[in-house]
Symmetry: C2
Subunit: 345 residues, 2 copies
Amino acid sequence: MSRADRFLRACRREAVDCTPVWMMRQAGRYLPEYRAIREKHTFLEMCRTPAIAAEVTVQPMRRFDLDAAIIFADILLPLPGIGLELSFGEGEGPAIGNPVRTRRDVEALAKFDPEKSVPFLLEAIRLSLRELDGKAPLIGFAGAPFTLASYMIEGGGSRNYENTKALMYSDPQAWRVLMEKLVDTVAAYLSAQVRAGVHALQVFDSWIGCLSKQDYLEFVLPHMKALVSAIGRAVPVIHFANGASHMLPGIRDAGGDVISVDWHIGLDDAWKAIGYDRGIQGNLDPVTLLGPREFIEKRVADVLLRAGGRAGHVFNLGHGLIPSIPPENVGFAVDKVHELSVRTP
Amino acid sequence: MSRADRFLRACRREAVDCTPVWMMRQAGRYLPEYRAIREKHTFLEMCRTPAIAAEVTVQPMRRFDLDAAIIFADILLPLPGIGLELSFGEGEGPAIGNPVRTRRDVEALAKFDPEKSVPFLLEAIRLSLRELDGKAPLIGFAGAPFTLASYMIEGGGSRNYENTKALMYSDPQAWRVLMEKLVDTVAAYLSAQVRAGVHALQVFDSWIGCLSKQDYLEFVLPHMKALVSAIGRAVPVIHFANGASHMLPGIRDAGGDVISVDWHIGLDDAWKAIGYDRGIQGNLDPVTLLGPREFIEKRVADVLLRAGGRAGHVFNLGHGLIPSIPPENVGFAVDKVHELSVRTP
């Protein structure tokens, strides 16, 4: 079985020859060849120049035996298309120049047109597909409505998400309109990526872990359901809910063919909570890859053991690769995943 | 029943007339009278000047009908006493000038002597007790060994705790020695506070939520058990494990008369996971207090409903008060807790 098939078969919970593996932020700063390009361009320039984005997308595929590529982009790329001023300061996180704080700000958001707002991303997808040449599938992605809303409202990263929750608690009607607009935006953004040719989609709800289960069920779950339904069933959808081990059944109810979980609980307990009628992706703590090789091997084996050889497991980290991780440890882990999970036919 | 009794009775799971309440960071920046003092002194000066620390400790007790005071201090105060250079930059978090990174750094740590290193804290406790005059109990506190270790190793706050975990994974022997030294340090620090007169203790494991359940059980739990055992049973011990809803049975096994939980899961589910042979403290999301009054009341009532009138509940937030919270909303919530939880005798 080629790596072109392994990942997509696992997403559909079909039998595979060994467990497929890719890693969040596999196109990123831990790679010297990425840093060499990054030195000459800003982060947004890289995202908005199709040739660069495609090059960075395939970089880790040349080095490692990864079973899927993920398009190089940022979850905030659609925001300028709905009227927000997006910037990335050097060494800082993203910033929104005109944060959304009132019902009026919500109403003023524009309708998103992917062909007009992110043509560079769609072109980067086409270039990446040409470069990958059918040898590995390509994943498209977007931020989930809650995570996008939190950036839009806070104006950047946040510690307590106080403006986001204050809007949610004090003007639930404005919150609902905002989420509905973001569902439309994200659905259009992901559908355009499918039309450009991606083989699977991942929705990143990176900051959802700041919410109580109670708030998730009340303020987010219905909108996530609407999103997953709007995306349709053309390609598998992976739903990554970071910091959400306290509400996995809610995350599952929100939708996704595969639920991607962080490292906080064992993959066995997570899959049990989600139910075996879904695939699961995860869940090695990325910092494991800073440890010695014996330790990495032990922990890779542990994740595979907890997956129990069941169809529907995509090996991944519980969060993105961090810049200090040695690339050779990434390659070591990828090879160990394949080696330790070979199924006898 | 006076507020002098309510809190301590609840810690021992005895009957109370209504649910006692205090709030983490109740002595803090959301209070204008705190900010007035803070403008004239650095944070460390405030901690190290007994008259100021005592004044700030009792400030919220004058405004609100809180059932316990907590001594104004910082979890990092014992660190200079074991050889670390501690500073707080204006507007930044804490910094350690000489972080612990190697086995040699661990071995070089000094033995902690509370009378010599934190006499100001012990004096602040005595002054606060005089000021409180038996009308409300006083809580002493410390950071848990893991949380202290993470600051010591990272040199300050952290996003990924990569140095901490890397030491844990690559040199488990050095990690063990570090945790043992911190258990001794924290036990001595807390015991000195008990001798100075505090009525209860809270151990803050603020950053423990970065660990998987697996890592907690292997690298932290045995040391927490040793700590709780070393503290002894002179006063009730509250164990606050932030971000730990994925491993509450482990937190319970580590010890504490009362387990203090954050807001991620409902108090009913948390208490069930912990077991009813322990008290529980929590668990309103602090950001709730930025919402409108009807919303605050609804959420306070919800926490009380989930506690089910069972003996052993101390009402608190799931994390500390944040500076933007209006003081009048704190008072409103405190009064609602008492009003909505009155037991008919």
